[in-house]
Amino acid sequence: MATARTAPHVQLDPVTVRRARRLARKVTAPVVAMARTHTTVSVERATLRLAGLTGADPQRVPWVNHLVDAVRDSVGLEHGIALPVWDALARDEAPDLLTCAQKAAAGGIGFRIPEGRDAARAARGARAAVSRGIRRIDAARRERDRLIARWGDQPRRPWIYLIVATGDIYEDIPQAQAAAREGADVIAVIRSTGQSLLDYVPEGPTREGYAGTYATQENFRLMRAALDDVSRELRRYIRLTNYASGLCMPEIATLAGMQRLDMMLNDSMYGILFRDINPIRTFVDQRFSRQIHARAGIIINTGEDNYLTTDDAVEAAHTVTVSQLVNEAFAKEAGLADWQLGLGHAFEINPDLPDSFRLELAHALLARTLFPNAPLKWMPPTKHMTGDVFRGYLLDGFFNLAGVLTGQGILLVGMMTEAVVTPWLSDRDLALQNVRYVLGACAGLAEDFHPPADGFIANRARQVLGEAVELLERIVEHPDRVPLLAAIADGTFGLMRRPADGGKGLDGVLRRAGGYLNPAIDLLEEGATR
């Protein structure tokens, strides 16, 4: 972990902090209860992926989609995918899961909801199959620990986080390796625009993405192997990041766990607010994906930066804090530990505003103090990058300084050509020089940085926390069974109104029946391996 220096902080009222956390739990509890009584097509497909079902038909429709659709059409999904499928296997309708999916796609399998001893038999079979996937995730986690022990880990914080996004996995690989050699500790592969709205996970290696590269199991495997090669060369474990978001969040989390990805972007409300995905679909999918991430030892990155790019970074500062608290509450419930919470925030205050840097420091220190053991994800300026690359370079320098001064855990490297071009080789090189200079010149400066308890920074931090508590109180007061859904519906976050019965993917949400069975969720909640 980081060098044993006093962590930077501001003085907050411990009673207010406890109150904020209590309110966050109160806001999230009814949503968790709802997630426990619903399932989605993607949760059920993820369950099949854990049981080893992979591949797609010649039209590239994945077999997990075929099988889930076939079961849904014949006996419904309210009991989960496991009972009808492993009942069919036990009745020798098909010799194995893949054949079962292929026959089911052609309408050749008679599914039923088994009862009594038949149900017990199907449950045993499903659990045995799904537990192999869980053990594969466990093995990937042990492998990560082993490689970090062998090759070493970046001791310095923040970790330097760089993005590659060519659309072609075979172009991404050399770029990612070059970025690691230039000093990146974490490589993120941006997804193709619009993948979040696909209700299936593409298959195989892909070479044609739009402003990014498709997240597929094979792309995950290829990139992780390439980063292992460069980690071995650099004697430093390089982490790999992708996106568990959108309509296939549970499946992508599952694939990431099996292919040993190290970080995943995984926000509780991003898809709802910014992609118009149905709120219930998102929360159900999110809980499953976070349970997987917890098990896989994956660090999640949340997306609070998005609130500041759509709203004013000063006026809306407290919405970031609220989102961080909500993300933390959901994450803890799903089993994630503090070290796995890359809670997000961003340097997006208008630089023409007087004291803008002091305000940035106040907001960053507030996050640092509220979540002392979380590796906060610090996001660079985008909104006020104008095309004036010289001014942008200076702004990125101040962003880096704020990151060092306030003890951020993960620093996404800002590009001076943000909003101008996708980063050139030279942009990335200049950006890394900027980071290296600030980290080298100021690494220990946090030790000397103690804003006075009654000064501008501390007062501002307390003010934002106070506004966050007020907003959480307003949400709790919603006279709805699930107040958070009502708040999302009336536009409390990010200016977007998203009703619980609207948005994409609603038709993939199902209320669980009394006998619902999902061995993946059982294994994850029990911490069991068999």
């Binding site: 625009t193 992609r275 998005n306 985008t382 090189d429 200016l495």
Partner: protein, 252 residues
């Protein structure tokens, strides 16, 4: 004092000084610097001062070059292609809608026909936006109804009528056998049939394969090509609904 002939200004009138930076796929060294100087000379910078060169990995070098260019610009010969509408920021768009419509502007968007590629329409409509600009949902004074993919033309017309759309945005990515042109003509015809003359909503289509000049031929009001940002669309809509385009006048 300034005549029509100008050249770049460093610190003395007429010195012609410019700065530029670029990367060459050449290993760092004297040869790379000479190559950079040669490139700059061919660009009209002479003498070219290579003030900075830095290796980036084994195979690339980054340069900063200063020097005077000999080119002149005659301001009398400079021609500016005017967009027929001003580019507005979100706040200006909102203010213009409030001022001119006194109610929110209603936009109905869809991918029509068999097209399931919502990338284009989502980039323009979703708050996430495109190219650093927020989508139309972000605008307080624009009400967005995004119908998504594979919408049938009669359904689109019905929805536009129900929501009293001011504008209909349609995205077409799939272009096999000119499907995008065929679909667009059909849509235009359906709207002309369903609305009284001069009262139909603005029809705007977008996609990578459209010719931006073919609007009249296809029966729509505007075509946007690849790389269009939400801000351009919003600015156009404000301009068009307030009488800039040939369609309906909104009663005050």
């Amino acid at each position: 004092m300034t005549g029509p002939i100008v050249r770049p200004y460093g610190d003395i009138t007429g010195d012609g000084m410019v700065q530029l930076s670029f990367t060459l796929p050449v290993p760092h060294g004297k040869r790379a610097e000479a190559a950079a100087a040669q490139l700059a000379r061919r660009m009209g910078v002479d003498p070219a001062l290579v003030v900075h060169s830095k290796p980036m990995g084994d195979d690339f070098t980054f340069f900063v070059v200063y020097g005077p260019v000999h080119h002149l610009v005659n301001l009398d010969e400079v021609r500016v292609l005017e967009r027929e509408y001003p580019l507005l920021g979100p706040a200006e768009v909102n203010a213009a809608i409030r001022r001119r419509l006194r109610r929110p502007l209603v936009v109905v968007g869809a991918c029509i026909g068999t097209d399931a590629h919502t990338v284009g329409i989502d980039a323009i409509l979703n708050i996430k936006g495109f190219a650093g600009e927020k989508g139309l949902e972000y605008y307080r004074e624009i009400r967005v109804v995004n119908l998504g993919a594979q919408v049938r033309i009669p359904d689109l017309v019905a929805q536009a009528q129900e929501d009293r759309a001011d504008a209909v945005l349609v995205s077409q990515v799939v272009t096999q056998r000119d499907a995008h042109l065929h679909n667009t003509r059909q849509m235009a015809a359906a709207f002309s049939e369903a609305y009284p003359a001069g009262r139909r909503p603005l029809l705007v289509v977008g996609g990578p394969r459209f010719d931006e000049h073919a609007a009249a031929e296809l029966g729509v009001d505007r075509i946007f090509g690849k790389g269009t940002t939400p801000g351009e669309v919003a600015s156009y809509l404000v301009h068009a609904v307030s009488g800039g385009a040939s369609v309906q006048q909104v009663p005050a």
